[in-house]
Symmetry: C2
Subunit: 641 residues, 2 copies
């Protein structure tokens, strides 16, 4: 039986563990990337670990999120990251260079290598035949320090693409179609491997769009085989030597198989407020549009923007539409300038934003009240745009440009030819935006007043007593625990400040009560910690003295973040016990070394009444909890991690 | 005795009054401009006046300030202005088109005409031989409704420029030199008329830089004669038919005369925190720079940015410098893209921001803590950048670009040649950013939830009683009265919200106290209301029920704003009475129709104790106060204004 491409790469990189699905394995990490909004925390953690040297071949620190700089906090963060990069020998990408995933694809992606990034859209580089996985900042700090990443061996899902796209259908429509069919949980625990003649027909940046939005399927990552299109892309970037041909065996075994005929795909649209709320556009013509936004790590490539330019050339954006375009990289912006596409966009009335994430992460360009915004981005969650009342639709650049002209959502994309723009012979080389550093241990770290030291993790006492300081219901999200928007994002490196907003959406007195009744216990219902992977949702309760969380069930990533921050993730043995617990009840948990150290199930007391709880985690995770958190654990393990 | 150019134009436009200095005159206004941060209020006022038609030849509404859009408020304001423009037949410049003054110079400036703009840098178009004056939003609404503007006939100051600039000295250095010599009050009450062979040697955009920063001298406006350089500029813009030759008579009489030899001017720098804190750069080499910003209405022309590009070409911005460039207009951005200058800027590592005011008004790009930022802008007041601890220096684009390369402030500008960039044969025509409207009375006005109706002005009772609700010291500024920064600016059309911050920098309970003790009196010392011209500093106290202000002395513009909003501006006859007044003292002002209507000096009682006060205003202003404010007054006067 043959092997999938995924398996071939992982087998080469595996360090420990058995490659059977859901088993914990460790793989060697070749490359890491961070962006600034998660990077500040990752590098504070790296400073705490303070490795003698960086253990990955290529480490990148991008600045693409917090670039509006409405106060000192953003640039202080940039300076902090810049100085960290000099100290540890990490390549620094200055703000204005573009979006991390686009830049990484252009400049550093390499077939057959592994990439770990502190951003959920890191799988974009799967287009280059890499295993590229998004993870938390602490995972990146650990990978930088040890060269390793632990994760559960995934199922491998093969999506065989057949036929060819019929314009104006595009790569965005392919992934929207898959989201329509399989939903935002369709990829959980899976690596998606794209194969087939249809895959070969797609350009590299089209493949990148598809891998990018695999994140919306919940997939661990997505990957394409490499071929002459891969070679052409690398060659254009002046990196042909990085090419290797990678293919799955013809008789490769997969855990699951799906076939998609590209020729059957029509222009699609994700309606508010979820990326899997997808329809064929033909069904929803006639909605008036206030704003159109083209860009983001999903659809901001040279190809995407020249398509938009070709459609807009010699025409005018509708009077009532604000069209904003954020190019994916400085190199793309430069190419568009060189070949006239940029002038055509400007002449039509397109606002050219700085190269970066921008409106995709709610950093500016919030639509008007009750506005309709058509975006080429990857997420359309309610409120993410900065305007709670706005309706965000996700579409391809072709549909976005056509609708900007018409002023209404339309599937009728004019016939266009990107051949009118001559692609420059060479991408921008030797850009002033990349600072390639050699580690300098004497480099002083620049720490602005908004960047606070990480809270210290302490080894727990053998017998613990805590107070119940929060009682919540089901489905409490990481957004509830640590809000994230353009007002909060500048404070990602200030756990103290962020903690004053912890859980206040649900219980505005929580931060004060937790501080006054330290150590504390959080109690909640099902699916506690759902949503984004942000580790701040564990860091802020830890800062407020929370030592354990007792719930009916956990969301997976948040549970792991709690462990990393020394918070014991307990579940009720008998869910009905949830009903009996009251605010400020006293909790006792005895014999930590035995109960936490080895038992799936044990007894605690709630106001002296014995209650059974469960602790379902790996031995490695038990050891982390006994050390008070991951940073203590790794400093103990050192090179043996 | 011959006439100055200023006099020749004003004589053609005068409607009423006698042209002797400091006398109130009314002139015909040909053109108006607004930007969005002052425009929303101006158009709310226009709606209240609701004229049957617009009385100026050309009315422009630009959006260039609030373009970050971190919440719904900004785009709601844009939509409001867009709809107002359709209703009244005002040309709308969509966000992304660029900075109002640059755009107006390019597209609408016309020798010999008058321009009134709700922005202090409106005098920029003086470079085109116009009388271009900055004023409050209400003045614009009034000019739109009546075609008139009342102001005090100014002194005319002739600055005769001789010799020629020796590169790298530039226009920015000329105006910095004048600021060094005459200070930020050197132009108050004056129109500055530039003449001489040195003036002829300057390009039109160089002249615009000089007129622009005349605002920093406090001048009413600045003006240059027209010549073949004016013609060339207009011709390039496809508007050669707008050219007329305008010169002062050779024996023109001026109120004041200064001569400046351009060949003696060296590269200059304004050090923190005032634009007249000017030195020759030669004296201050060696300061490390964190940020360099090129742009703003002062220095963002095609010429300025190609200079920067020629200096940066094939080089790299210093590792520790963040260089940001905000082009003055979409047309300039398009030209830079066409001729390769933009690519050179990008390749060097310059961040290309959207065309607009951006960092000049603190809208983004706040420097790091204690950072040094070198800017080609017009103001470097403490905190205006968004970072209180930052040091802002003002320089020319040449010095900015050279310093960005070096990483330190330097006077050593490399020799450069902008001839390497071929100027496109035609500026951008027929841009998708301009919406030229024909008035449509049926147009619905789009009013978002943050745009609140103007408070109603009520005719005062014949006998007034009020409570003392604020007692302050000397030099209270309009910033103290109504704070303005990136957090407050989105609320310029929401007087209710802004009023909750009124005077809270000095007395945090003021808004509450004023509401609870309505009607109220504000008491303060010397120079009350100094600083910016923002009328919100009168609108917010009016909203809180303030009916009079009693101080030792007023700043001129604020006094006029108080009158327009129906607040009686009283001064102590005997300044020592200030000492006796206490919080919540009861004030009585009787026989309004006589005292306010005609008396310079009369008696009020403070807690029953008679106290003499003064009211030094024109008869027109007395009539405004008796109507409760200007909007009531003009609705009464109608066409007779």
């Amino acid at each position: 039986m043959g092997k999938s491409l995924t398996l071939k790469i992982i087998e080469k990189k595996i360090i420990s563990g058995d490659l059977s699905p859901t088993n914990e394995i460790a793989i060697k990490i070749d490359q890491t990337l961070t962006q600034d909004s998660t990077g500040t925390m990752a590098y504070l953690q790296l400073m705490r670990i303070n490795p003698s040297e960086i253990k990955v071949k290529n480490a990148l620190a991008y600045v693409d999120h917090n670039m509006l700089q409405t106060g000192f906090e953003n640039m202080d963060d940039h300076e902090f990251i810049r100085s960290i990069c000099k100290k540890y020998g990490i390549t620094y990408s200055k703000p204005g260079n573009g979006v991390c995933h686009q830049l990484h694809l252009e400049n550093f992606s390499k077939p057959g290598e592994t990439l770990l990034g502190s951003d959920s859209h890191t799988p974009t580089c799967g287009a280059m035949g890499m295993i590229a996985i998004g993870a938390g900042g602490l995972d990146i700090a650990t990978a930088l320090s040890t060269g390793k990443y632990y994760f559960k061996a995934p199922h491998i899902l093969n999506i065989k693409l057949e036929g060819e796209l019929i314009p104006p259908a595009s790569a965005k429509d392919v992934i929207l179609f898959i989201l329509k069919e399989y939903g935002v949980k369709g990829g959980i625990g899976k690596i998606i491997e794209y194969t087939g003649s249809g895959a070969s027909s797609l350009s590299l940046t089209q493949r990148a769009t598809i891998c990018n939005m695999g994140a919306e399927l919940g997939a661990t990552t997505s990957i394409f085989e490499t071929d002459e299109k891969t070679y052409e892309y690398l060659d254009f970037q002046g990196r042909s030597e990085d090419f290797i041909k990678l293919k799955a065996d013809v008789d490769a075994k997969y855990d699951q198989f799906i076939s998609v005929d590209l020729s059957s795909i029509k222009p699609m649209i994700a309606k508010p407020h979820n990326p899997d709320n997808v329809y064929e556009i033909a069904n929803i013509n006639g909605i008036k549009v206030n704003q159109v936004a083209i860009g983001s790590c999903t659809n901001s490539s040279y190809e995407d923007l020249t398509k938009a330019a070709a459609i807009l050339k010699n025409k005018k954006v509708s009077e009532h539409v604000s069209l904003v375009i954020a190019p994916g990289s400085s190199s793309i912006l430069s190419m568009l300038a060189k070949n006239g596409a940029l002038c055509d966009l400007i002449d039509a009335g397109a606002r050219i934003l700085e190269c970066g994430c921008g409106p995709c992460i709610g950093m500016g360009q919030a639509p008007n009240t009750n506005g309709v915004s058509l975006r080429t981005f990857n997420r359309n969650f309610k409120g993410r745009s900065g305007t709670d009342s706005a309706d965000i639709y996700l579409v391809s650049p072709e549909v976005a440009a056509a609708s900007a002209l018409k002023g209404y959502i339309t599937k009728d994309v004019p016939v266009f030819d990107i051949g009118i723009y001559k692609k420059p012979s060479l991408a921008m080389q030797n850009s002033g935006f990349f600072i390639r550093n050699i580690a300098d241990k004497n480099q002083k770290i620049i720490i602005g007043p908004n960047i606070k030291e990480l809270p210290v993790q302490s080894i727990p006492n053998e017998n613990l007593e805590f107070n119940t300081v929060f009682i919540g219901g089901d489905n409490i999200s990481t957004d509830d625990i640590t809000p994230s928007d353009s007002k909060m994002l500048p404070f990602r490196s200030n756990i103290e400040y962020l903690s004053s907003f912890c859980l206040t959406r649900i219980d505005e007195d929580f931060p004060k009560r937790a501080k006054n009744n330290n150590p504390g216990l959080i109690v909640a219902g099902e699916n506690y910690g759902q949503g984004s992977s942000r580790e701040h949702a564990a860091l802020t309760p830890a800062f407020l003295g929370i030592k354990a969380v007792l719930v009916k069930s956990f969301a997976r990533i948040h549970k792991s973040n709690l462990i990393n921050n020394g918070i014991i993730p307990l579940t009720f043995e008998n869910p009905s016990d949830y009903e009996h617990i009251k605010m400020l009840d006293k909790i006792k948990l005895s014999d930590i070394s035995i109960n936490i150290g080895s038992k799936d199930s044990f007894q605690i007391t709630i106001n002296e009444i014995p209650t059974k709880v469960r602790l379902e985690i790996s031995q490695r995770e038990r050891d982390i909890l006994l050390q008070g958190g991951f940073l203590n654990y790794i400093s103990m393990k050192g090179e043996n991690y």
